[in-house]
């Protein structure tokens, strides 16, 4: 039961973008069109889940037993950077069209605070191995949900009459605010 709680919490209640403010850069940058938003979401979910696994292993097999917790930040970010590099090479080899679609977004995932945020939060909450994986999966799906919803709205917004000064990031942020307001309604669901 607790796994379901963690999953639903990650997707809806403590949504990575709309509650933890993680992944804002791609959220604002890649959410203009639904298909690219969805691809980004998938890539992020994939990297997040693997990061969850690897960061847990590093944390619990190396950092904690040898009292090296001060190396947590450095080791996590290096792991993420390498993982993203590997994922990029893998996609490039196996699916060139997918690589074309995701283009420059992949390296950007490294600096996507959502990935590092995931590793840090899972470590902070002291989740077990399976819990961390579920947390990673849920957070990725939550991110994808938010970014796809945003893209859907922005595709419509592009045709609307937005004041000049608010065009682009301004109106995107206000839209995000309204979405966050909506997602607030999910709190208390766990009861």
């Amino acid at each position: 039961m607790e796994l379901v709680t963690i999953f639903i919490s990650a997707v809806l209640i403590n949504n990575f973008v709309l509650h933890y403010f993680l992944g804002i850069c791609p959220f604002l940058g890649v959410s203009r069109r639904i298909d690219s938003a969805f691809s980004m979401g998938l890539a992020v979910t994939f990297v997040m889940t693997i990061t969850a696994i690897v960061s847990w292993i590093i944390n619990h097999w190396i950092l904690i037993p040898y009292h090296l917790d001060y190396l947590q930040i450095v080791s996590f970010i290096l792991v993420i950077a390498s993982l993203v590099q590997l994922v990029e090479m893998f996609i490039r080899k196996t699916s060139p069209p997918l690589y074309q679609a995701l283009g420059i977004y992949l390296p950007l995932i490294t600096t996507n605070c959502a990935i590092l945020g995931l590793a840090l939060l899972a470590a902070l909450k002291n989740y077990g191995f399976i819990q961390t994986i579920i947390f990673g999966l849920g957070s990725g799906i939550g991110f994808t949900l938010a970014i796809v919803l945003m893209a859907g709205i922005r595709e419509q917004l592009d045709m609307a009459d937005v004041p000049e000064v608010l065009k682009g990031p301004g109106i995107a942020l206000i839209t995000a605010g309204i979405m966050a307001l909506g997602f607030l309604g999910f709190t208390g669901m766990l009861k």
Partner: protein, 193 residues
């Protein structure tokens, strides 16, 4: 020099220097950080059991830590219980003090919560919530009194006050305490306390 060799040397050096530097920083700050954590726990223990002088951690499991608390004359004052559980938004961590027979709750304090500011977060407020937790009878389950009252005199000895507008957070605290109490009684019977 071969470019690959250069890359490896540079990266390794940076890694080693940074690692050594961080080891130094880590060691310097490690004690202070542990001390801060200990201070927080000790302050909470003195808040929930008055007259506490010495405390020892005697039991630990997931979301439950029990401290044996002794007074000035090294007499057993009771137990300080650190417990955690699901709240409205995220997990709530609290501490409460009980007497050695587990019949009375001296007092309760909330250590960590991420409830809604202005509503659920009121569980940390003395005026709105915590004052109603003093000297509660816990031989039976603690129950929540609805609607909210203004003064502890309006409550029965085993009741605590609900926070209006924050039902779920209030209930969460009560559940955490009742679950912990059940667990403590079992442990006492097993002679683990």
């Amino acid at each position: 020099m071969n470019i690959y060799a250069r890359m490896i040397i540079v990266l390794t050096s940076i890694g080693l220097i940074s690692g050594a530097f961080l080891a130094g920083v880590g060691t310097l700050t490690k004690n202070r950080i542990a001390l801060n954590k200990q201070k927080e726990i000790n302050e909470a223990i003195t808040r929930v059991i008055s007259g506490a002088q010495i405390s020892n951690k005697i039991y630990e499991e997931k979301d439950l830590i029990i401290y044996r608390v002794n007074g000035e004359k090294n007499n057993l004052l009771g137990y300080a219980v650190y417990a955690g559980g699901v709240g409205f938004q995220d997990k709530i961590y609290l501490m409460f003090g009980v007497d050695p027979e587990i019949t009375k709750i001296h007092s309760l304090t909330v250590l960590d919560q991420k409830e809604t500011p202005g509503l659920g977060a009121k569980i940390t407020s003395e005026k709105n919530f915590l004052q109603f937790w003093k000297n509660r009878d816990c031989t039976e389950k603690i129950t929540l009194h609805k609607p909210a009252v203004n003064s502890p005199d309006q409550l029965s000895p085993y009741e605590v006050n609900i926070i209006s507008g924050a039902t779920i957070s209030s209930e969460a605290v009560v559940n955490i305490v009742n679950t912990a109490l059940e667990r403590i009684r079992v442990l006492k019977e097993e002679g683990k306390l």
